[in-house]
Symmetry: C2
Subunit: 501 residues, 2 copies
């Protein structure tokens, strides 16, 4: 059995090397590549990804898995090897179920759909995108059909991004929180307290923003000998190995908060990847286990830490010193209020903690209806507008701030949106568990001391990489599944204090 | 036959994509990669290169070549397809001759040898490197043995870097120029004219150096929408497609000429790659045909243009304006003299046009003696010193400026050095041919007008990529083989005027 594991690891290492190389090509494309390079870069990415897929679904892997699976119960469930076998086996079976023709149809269709989406946004013209979305939807349904039997057409799609999460579980969670969120939004809207965040807008020199971002990133524990910060249009975190985990951001000279919280968000993702056990390197287990768990890490640092009073107790004076003069007449408390303003908006990525999950619920409900055939694409903009009106009290003024705002559908990432909310919910569950074990975390945070928290996250979450499913991981830590109560409590406590409701 | 060509092209496109992806990984390693990334990057590079090799020497390629070769005479020799078949076939046969065990032995040995070389340099200790060099030499001899029959053990090594060039031809060329070069060096040394280049040393702000370099690069014709300039310790040019050809440089605040001529040199390489016909994209023919021809392009721009009077007629006033104050009391003529100072030195990469080729001849002679067993590695430093004394009149003061100065042997690149001189010689042959067809090139250059020259190079050299062997290419243009006479005439004319000899 040892020799089979060894062989499978050697094989997987090649697959992983190809995938990580593709990630570098993509990072380069979004940071430094001259414009001329686009056409051939797309082909190179297709070649690397295609080869990785071919290598992965080879008969050799199938044979090795067959032999290993029959013996996996002989080894400790928690061992790296047992996890490795479970992981490769599940992934192999999933990839094997998708016929090559469907994989390449999806690649071609989404490639064209993404171009059409860009064009449709430029022209604020949904009609340019609609036929492409239709094709994506049809193929996505076919994709789902490959994985029958299931209870819900959405199940296998969700499983790609959040392994082992079922649609019914998601529906329960969302129905638990939807009305409560809508009520909270309207209570905040009805409050006499009006939070003014105009101090976040002005003229903030980019170099200073970068410097401040770097100071915070370092303090949170991001290791720059194993990472770096570059600029992109759409910020992201990516990794080419456990020792090369990079983040990107976008500086807006007129708005302080955009890059600031963007960096903390990406650092959250990066700390996860940098904290994975070196033993898992190049096995495929050497990455965060799901988008939801990943988002729990980014949101934890961005929101639970980064938008907390304790954090700014330490960092507001630093900020004042760096942006000399600008915050002279502002108190730490006022700054805390301003970064926690809650206000319904049309754009998901700009939404605050309270309203954000309603944006997600809207997308999830629309995805389900589209997949089930309950919603025709002709009617999508209207359905979008209706839901925004009902949940958030406002309607898109055009397609760009409406149905064309997200890239996800154009790239075929249907099933992806819910993981943002799963991450938000988990972030509070996890931080609560951490607080139980760490003496006075708030006090540590107010001294810019994140060592205990990072150590706890490393020990309980990061080091495991993809060894445990998200459900297993969460159960090991909290003895519970994804549970919206702690998050809702957190929101109620925080915002009832801010808005005196 | 059409369908076989199509299949082979599809296959080669994947191989090329893998090679170009590896090139990007390597570029990143030398520009932006955080230090932590080294270990895994090496493995990723090995995976990509190994896969490219495996794909290339697959039976599928062998079968296709077999069928295509028997019909290649039916199609036009000058067609892209005929060149493609010749190119793939030659390369396939060469790679097939090398047993996998030798390929991996060489990879491992040179990887260790390179580390040992770095360490040996740090400690100025040849003994640390000698046993590694011995292994590299032994394996290099084995490598050569794979290609018997040959006339000279050096033939198959040279052929890797300069296809179709024979050692005997090289020996004739070198024996033609060696004494003449030695005489010229000593005549210059004996001249009453002493060229002072101290104006090139001082304090030159890096941003200004970059700005000036970019101005020149653009003027020469380097297309920044299909390229970019970054900083590295060891400058190079690399490409990931015909539309993404990047150069790097190193700025020395204390020395103006280092980055200045370095950039022109790399731009010369880059113009070659940027000028290759798009029809050849992803075939393997989409790169410069040999190191010699490549060097002819870099040297042409760096030396024949970049160190010419005409060039500085235009650019010296620009330089004066950019580095305000520094060159107020210098004339264009003085500047021209200073950048053409000729003086024997110990370091090849800093050598001027006259002495440079003697550094190469020394290395070539030593390589031959080592391979033939006429020189034992114990005696290498002494042999090195003897030759430097005889040819250039000076001896190394340590190992670092002696036998440990070049990386080439440590990476197994034996057979590489002569291509630097081949490039120098060809550069003058080619420029002479261009001048015959372009009215008044010197006048154009003095007006910063390089359009005709670049168009000529594109039409006669660049566009062909690797379609023709270096010998064929040169014959098509000059009706001659590599011929040292034009170069020697150029040197005599230029330096007898400067040094009044």
């Amino acid at each position: 059995m040892d020799s089979e594991i060894k062989l499978l690891k050697l094989h997987m290492a090649e697959v992983v090397d190809l995938q990580r190389s593709a990630a570098l090509l993509s990072w380069d494309q979004q940071t430094y590549m001259p414009s001329g390079g686009s056409k051939d870069r797309a082909q190179q990415l297709a070649t690397l990804e295609g080869l990785a897929h071919r290598l992965f679904i080879s008969n050799k892997v199938g044979d090795l898995i067959g032999e290993l699976e029959s013996n996996v119960n002989d080894i400790d469930y928690d061992s790296d090897d047992a996890s490795f076998i479970r992981y490769v086996s599940k992934k192999f079976k999933r990839e094997k179920r998708m016929p090559n023709s469907l994989v390449s149809d999806l690649a071609n269709t989404t490639s064209l759909a993404q171009e059409a989406w860009v064009l449709a946004r430029q022209n604020n013209d949904y009609a340019l995108f609609q036929p492409h979305l239709q094709k994506v939807l049809d193929l996505t349904r076919q994709k789902s059909e490959c994985f029958t039997p299931w209870d819900n057409v959405y199940d296998p799609l969700l499983d790609i991004y959040e392994p082992d999460m079922k649609t019914s579980e998601l529906q329960n969670i969302f129905s638990d929180i939807k009305d409560e969120l809508i009520d909270l939004v309207s209570a905040i809207q009805g409050s006499n307290v009006k939070v003014d965040n105009s101090i976040l807008y002005g003229d903030f020199e980019e170099n200073m923003q970068r410097e401040f971002g770097l100071i915070i990133a370092r303090s949170l524990g991001y290791d720059f000998t194993r990472g770096r910060l570059d600029e992109t249009v759409h910020p992201f975190c990516t990794h080419f190995s456990l020792d090369d985990v990079r983040i990107t951001t976008r500086f807006d000279r007129k708005c302080l908060s955009s890059a600031l919280f963007g960096i903390m968000h990406e650092v959250g993702h990066a700390l996860y990847e940098q904290g994975i056990s070196p033993q898992l390197s190049r096995t495929g287990l050497d990455t965060g286990v799901s988008l939801g768990v990943h988002e729990s890490q980014s949101r934890l640092w961005e929101n639970l830490i980064g938008r907390s009073r304790s954090f700014w107790k330490y960092y507001f004076p630093v900020l004042q010193k760096m942006f000399l003069g600008i915050f002279d007449n502002v108190s730490a408390e006022e700054f805390y209020f301003s970064i926690n303003q809650s206000k319904p908006s049309l754009i998901r990525v700009e939404a605050d903690e309270v309203t954000y999950n309603l944006h997600i619920i809207i997308r999830f409900e629309l995805e389900l209806d589209m997949l089930n055939g309950d919603l025709q694409l002709n009617d999508l903009p209207e359905a979008w507008a209706d839901k925004y009106k009902t949940y958030l009290g406002l309607s898109p003024t055009n397609y760009v701030n409406g149905v064309l705002q997200d890239i996800h559908w154009s790239i075929g990432a249907i099933g992806y949106f819910p993981t943002y909310t799963i991450g938000n919910l988990m972030s509070v569950q996890l931080l609560q568990a951490a607080k139980k074990e760490i003496g006075d975390l708030d006090n540590q945070i107010s001294q810019s001391d994140f060592a205990d928290l990072l150590a706890w996250l490393r020990h309980n979450i990061h080091c495991h990489g993809s060894k445990y499913s998200p459900r297993e991981l969460l159960h090991r830590i909290t003895d519970n599944s994804v549970d919206p109560k702690p998050y809702m409590e957190y929101l109620h406590n925080k915002y009832s204090e801010i808005y005196r409701i």
